[in-house]
Symmetry: C2
Subunit: 231 residues, 2 copies
DNA sequence: AAACAAAAATGAGCGGTCCTCATTTTATCT
DNA sequence: AGATAAAATGAGGACCGCTCATTTTTGTTT
């Protein structure tokens, strides 16, 4: 064995820089063109490299999109987490989550679009990193509901998962207007309406229950009639 | 001008038959493979023709999918319309709509998937025939809500569009479990939970206000006492 | 500085898609 | 049968994501 020359290792952050350039370019292209219309050629060009090079850093176009979304999602989760520290009360915190989520569609339309329309259609979405992030994000709402139940502020019988699905599904449907580019949304108004519709159904009843009140009335009225009304 | 020979016109329903064959083949392939994995070559093969021939009857792959979905959607609308004739009462009719829609995801998983994941991502979805059908379909719910408000069974302040978005969005989110192939759904249970969560928030208060109930009780109790309880 | 090897970048081209269009086949009328 | 319009064909164009043999760049050793 001859003493072979040492490997010519480059500074490691040079690779990271390239990666960054590619991800940035990809985010830009995906955001403006959507997935299908975004071509690897254009992403490469914007990163100042040639198409084949991209594949030294990412396995596939889909892989690249996952990376773009994952980075964005992590920022979003951090933002919500931070924001929630400054809100107290179940109702207010739920409203914060709703409004914050609506804001996503207004401010990050392109990426939200990518998330809904492209990422989630993957049959194996539930095995991806994005799904984990998605669960962490949705957990902000379910945790709030569970807490509300424990505090007695929400009814004991409500099912957190259903409320969560109603909230996120409802928001998403409202947001289709934005995603399709037809006009905007008064997100404060929409947040109020969504919570205004849901809250009375999930908040704990202050009074015993309307049934028992009805019973009390029925009993009393029967008695009164029996005794000869207004004696 | 020589008397030119008449055009050799074929029986018109021959074209319709071909069209039918193509649509049927397309539905089958789209349903099982999804949009991206469905190839025009396979659709043509299943219709017993060659790829180019399909383009004599349909403009594009997307056009063909639109046709498949449109036919299915029309059947669905007819089914809901017919079913509603046999249900009375706002709550029961809303529950019917919810349950029927949940059934779509169980029974027509492939097409529902196509609708959500492929059709709606078209930027020009809102100019398509499918969108009109979508509106007609969703109108079953909004009409019910409007009717409920008019009948006094639902609160006067609720916003029908928000309730509609919560319902359809919520159902859709619940149904992702089915679409992704992970287990099924107890749709009766889910329907009950969705309505159970929403209804208390949108139903009109039976009594004018709890104060008046208290008043009624107070008056009655006073009377009863005055008359000597349990005489 | 020169030799050298590993790492990084290249770009031609492969296999696949939807779709077009000049050509051929089929069906109908005189 | 012969003519002609309608219907069907299938080779190939344009474009895509992706691969890989080749070339260029970079850092280390002598």
């Amino acid at each position: 064995m001859t003493t072979s020359r040492r490997a010519a290792k480059r500074s490691p952050n040079r690779q990271l820089l390239r990666e960054r350039e590619i991800v940035n370019a990809a985010r830009l292209v995906f955001e403006t063109a959507g997935y299908d219309n975004a071509s690897m050629a254009e992403i490469a060009a914007r990163a100042g490299i040639v198409e084949g090079t991209v594949y030294l850093y990412f396995d596939s176009k889909k892989d690249l999109m996952h990376r773009v979304i994952a980075e964005w999602y992590e920022g979003l989760i951090a933002s919500v987490s931070e924001g929630l520290t400054r809100v107290v009360g179940v109702r207010a915190r739920l409203r914060f989550c709703i409004l914050r989520h609506l804001r996503v569609y207004v401010e990050d339309t392109g990426l939200a679009d990518l998330m809904i329309r492209e990422l989630r259609r993957d049959r194996k979405f539930y095995e991806t990193e994005i799904y984990s992030l998605n669960k962490r994000y949705a957990a902000f709402v379910t945790a709030e509901i569970l807490d509300g139940i424990k505090q007695g502020e929400l009814g004991p019988d409500i099912v957190p998962e259903i409320v969560r699905d109603l909230i996120f599904g409802g928001i998403e449907h409202c947001a289709y207007r934005i995603l399709s580019g037809r006009g905007g949304l008064d997100i404060d108004l929409v947040a109020d309406r969504i919570l205004g519709t849901l809250w009375p159904g999930i908040a704990a009843q202050k009074e015993a229950s309307s049934v028992s009140i009805e019973d009390r009335i029925a009993r009393l009225e029967k008695l009164v009639v029996a005794n000869g009304e207004e004696s």
